[in-house]
């Protein structure tokens, strides 16, 4: 029976089994050595980390081998493999469905476990590191079990299958498919690391600021990749899906966005804890929320529960994830309750008009934001469960609630960076906010001048200018003082991230509010025009390969280069996939889609033209966010050691030296 699925199946399962056992023993070794302060057992922990990583790498490699050699004895390869899939997309086909994506999760998680072990190699005599690794191993074991049991990618399929349909055509249409999921997972799964340290800090009771500082870079790393992953996902949506949008608030998108929101809240509020020793319970809760939302999000989107409550029983992975989610919440809340006395932090926030006051306001908004997104995602489930009636919660709901939240956030973003800690006087604010405020007015005047209308977009542009002014003020002052070193460090890198966020907000407001579109019936030799551009059909061509037939309309824009929106008919799946063609520009994109029917006349084509203002700036803003994250991760100006008011923490000092 073990060999029923052939060599790849057997090897893969063997690797997973090794991974389960390795994680189990790793967890046991880490936790017992922590409890009994046993140095000899602690020495074994890194070996288990290597073993577990090797096992996950082995399992993943076997899956790739099965996919590349088209081993159709495996059910998973039957589902997403095909001889007609090009090599690159075939490689990416491994993570194009549930079982393979869990396998990728396993690989990345084992990689993180190994990375953290290596990072802690000289700190293994510290009990806190052992507990943290213990948590990492336990989470790893859960995902190995998931992959071994309910989400088994190595299950044998029915015999006699010689070829499969390949991955969903939408996933073999653009190279971003290669990068978006792995990068997103690096962020998503990376949230396990700060969670593990939070649990370890709770267990050891060492709730000073040491562990926070220690994991700051891991959190930032994961957050950066989550950001890039989400933005690449939007880009993919824009380049592939053909409705000219970047974000549709669908459950899968929300599942990746929810932990991003809470992690962003954490990155801000943790500064209050570092500086003032306050908000300990809140920060721990944010880390727990971030990690548990990755599990809940996976449950919601991968168990089939969101499409319909009744699909619940069809997927075996659902109950596992839900149970794991419950365990995380119970354990975390229990630990926080148990350590309640040590979590109580002294000190107070003197004035709402201070840096820490602004961080608190920002956190309230982020919390409400996360709540809105979560509510909108699960509300249809609630209604269906209570009244067995289907409702749809879509973009209009999210837009109506998140746009006011976003605008309020921009306001805080404009004021907070100039606020000093503790207390701000009116004169100080008036002085520091003067030029940023004028840059806001200027941005507003500029956007009114170019013809922008509507309250929400105008507020976004004006406040965007204001916030950009505040961010630039910080960067300019820092670089004037310190030269290029003024660009690195948390505060300065953070302001570069802010600039990226502002650019994205402005680009979203512009492209959502001022997109206009028109269908054009083109005829060869006749020039149609829309929105100041001319469109001329050159030719309609048909390209046949063994997996698909593509119909392309070659359309010259303004008599220049020909763009080729297409509709591709995938033979095996019987699915039509439209592929837009985009003329990119700094001011706006011209986005062309070929409209059905698929069969087009040789000298006629129906196309749809979208004019998308400022869309390119979404990707520029995303790049700036990534750059700012990297800059923020470098140590900035030397600052005094943070105070740890209640618990003396040599771990922190040691780690600072080590870093």
């Amino acid at each position: 029976m073990f060999f029923a699925s052939g060599i790849n199946g057997a090897l893969g399962r063997a690797f997973l089994l090794v991974g389960i056992i390795g994680s189990l023993f790793g967890a046991i070794a880490a936790i017992t050595s922590a409890r009994q302060r046993d140095q000899a057992v602690a020495k074994l922990v890194p070996r288990f980390a290597i073993l577990v990583f090797a096992a996950s790498l082995g399992a993943f490699a076997v899956m790739e081998r099965a996919m590349i050699t088209r081993d159709f004895s495996l059910e998973y390869v039957q589902k997403v493999g095909s001889y007609s899939t090009p090599a690159a997309y075939n490689f990416a086909a491994v993570w194009s469905a549930l079982e393979g994506s869990i396998l990728m999760w396993v690989l990345i998680l084992a990689g993180y476990t190994l990375g953290v072990t290596y990072w802690l190699r000289k700190k293994m005599d510290d009990v806190l590191s052992r507990y943290a690794l213990g948590v990492m191993f336990i989470v790893s074991m859960f995902f190995f079990l998931l992959s071994f049991g309910p989400a088994n990618p190595f299950a044998a399929g029915p015999e006699g299958v010689l070829d499969g349909p390949g991955p969903n055509p939408l996933l073999q249409n653009h190279l971003l498919v290669m990068f978006h999921p792995p990068l997103l997972y690096l962020g998503y799964v990376g949230m396990t690391v700060p969670f593990a340290f939070a649990i370890a800090a709770l267990i050891t009771g060492r709730l000073g600021e040491g562990w926070l500082l220690a994991t700051r870079r891991w959190t930032l790393f994961a957050w950066g990749f989550l950001t890039i992953g989400i933005i690449l996902g939007s880009w993919w949506s824009y380049e592939v899906l053909g409705w000219s949008g970047v974000w549709a608030w669908d459950p899968v998108e929300n599942a990746s966005f929810l932990p991003w929101i809470t992690a962003t809240a954490y990155i801000h509020s943790v500064l209050v804890q570092e500086r003032r020793g306050m908000l300990r319970v809140w920060n721990l809760s944010l880390l727990v929320a971030t990690f548990s939302l990755t599990i809940l999000g996976t449950f919601l989107t991968r168990s089939g529960v969101v499409n319909s409550v009744h699909a619940f029983s069809q997927s075996a992975i659902g109950p596992w994830l839900l149970a794991f989610f419950a365990v995380i919440i119970i354990v975390s809340v229990g630990l926080i309750g148990w350590r309640g006395d040590r979590l109580h932090s002294p000190g107070s926030i003197d004035s709402p008009l201070s840096r820490e006051g602004a961080f608190l306001a920002n956190n309230v908004l982020f919390a409400v934001f996360a709540f809105v997104v979560l509510l909108g995602t699960v509300f249809p489930l609630v209604v269906e469960a209570l009244q067995s009636r289907t409702i749809v919660v879509g973009e209009p709901f999210f837009d109506q609630l998140t746009i006011p939240i976003g605008i309020t956030m921009l306001t805080i973003m404009a004021i907070a960076p100039v606020l000093p800690w503790r207390k701000a006087s009116q004169e100080l604010l008036s002085k520091r906010l003067f030029w940023p405020a004028w840059s806001g007015v200027l941005a507003l005047a500029g956007s009114v001048w170019v013809g922008a209308t509507g309250l929400a977009p105008l507020l976004t542009f004006g406040l965007g200018g204001f916030a950009a002014g505040s961010a630039l003020r910080q960067v300019v002052l820092a670089t004037r003082r310190q030269g290029l070193r003024g660009l690195v460090g948390r505060a300065n890198g953070g302001m570069i991230v802010h600039l990226g966020v502002i650019i994205i907000s402005v680009a979203l407001a512009a492209s959502n509010s001022f997109t206009h579109s028109q269908e054009l019936n083109l005829e060869a030799g006749k020039v149609a025009s829309f929105s100041g551009h001319t469109f001329e059909l050159v030719d309609v061509v048909e390209e046949k390969t063994d997996r698909a037939t593509a119909v392309k309309a070659l359309v010259k824009i303004d008599g220049g280069k020909a763009y080729a929106p297409a509709i591709t008919k995938y033979v095996l799946q019987g699915m039509n996939v439209g592929t837009p063609s985009v003329k990119t520009g700094l001011a706006y994109d011209v986005y062309l889609t070929l409209e059905p029917p698929v069969r087009q006349d040789e000298n006629k084509a129906r196309i749809k033209v979208f004019i998308k203002p400022l869309l390119l700036w979404l990707w520029i803003g995303g790049g700036l966010m990534a750059l700012g994250t990297v800059l923020a991760a470098f140590p900035g100006r030397r600052r005094r050691n943070p105070t740890s008011p209640t618990s003396e923490d040599d771990f922190a000092a040691d780690l600072l030296v080590m870093l």
Partner: protein, 157 residues
């Protein structure tokens, strides 16, 4: 010194006034006539594709969505009905599951009420915390400590 702060006050007034004026002008002016395509987009954005999960007709490329889009386009071309009438007509024809905006009656109203409730609670808690912090005030130092600092400073010199 006094003059600068007065100047500042005036220039801040100018900032606020010009921002308000620009916003008022920009948000109320006519953005030009709506084309038929604009109307189709606006309507299809609040209609759900009947066969997909959570996508709007505007977004979806599924055949069910295409059918609704074509119907909306036909209605607009006919020029008889207003946007709301067209939405009501589509709802009557395809059922309430094609509405993308949750209703504000019955159980569905919760989705609108709960976020407001959470926001009020969060802001209330924050306000309460600030008030309590103000009362406690950790910054007051004892006379003894103040003297200690003073002595240390003197010795330093």
């Amino acid at each position: 010194m006094k003059t600068t702060s007065v100047q500042n006050k005036w220039s801040w007034l100018l900032v606020v006034l010009s921002a308000v004026a620009l916003l008022a002008f920009g948000s109320t002016r006519d953005s030009g006539p709506r084309t038929q395509a604009d109307r189709i987009d606006a309507i299809t954005k609040v209609l759900a594709c009947p066969t997909c999960s959570g996508e709007s007709v505007y977004v979806s490329r599924a055949s069910g969505a295409e059918a609704i889009r074509a119907e909306v386009a036909r209605q607009i071309a006919a020029g008889q009905r207003s946007d709301d009438d067209i939405i009501a007509y589509i709802e009557a024809r395809f059922g309430s599951r094609v509405l993308l905006v949750p209703r504000s009656t019955g159980l569905d109203a919760l989705i609108w009420v709960l976020p407001v409730f959470v926001l009020v609670c969060a802001v209330g808690t924050l306000g309460f915390a600030f008030r309590r912090w103000k009362v406690v005030g950790s910054d007051s130092i004892s006379e003894e400590d103040a003297q200690l600092v003073e002595r240390a400073l003197r010795e330093d010199r």
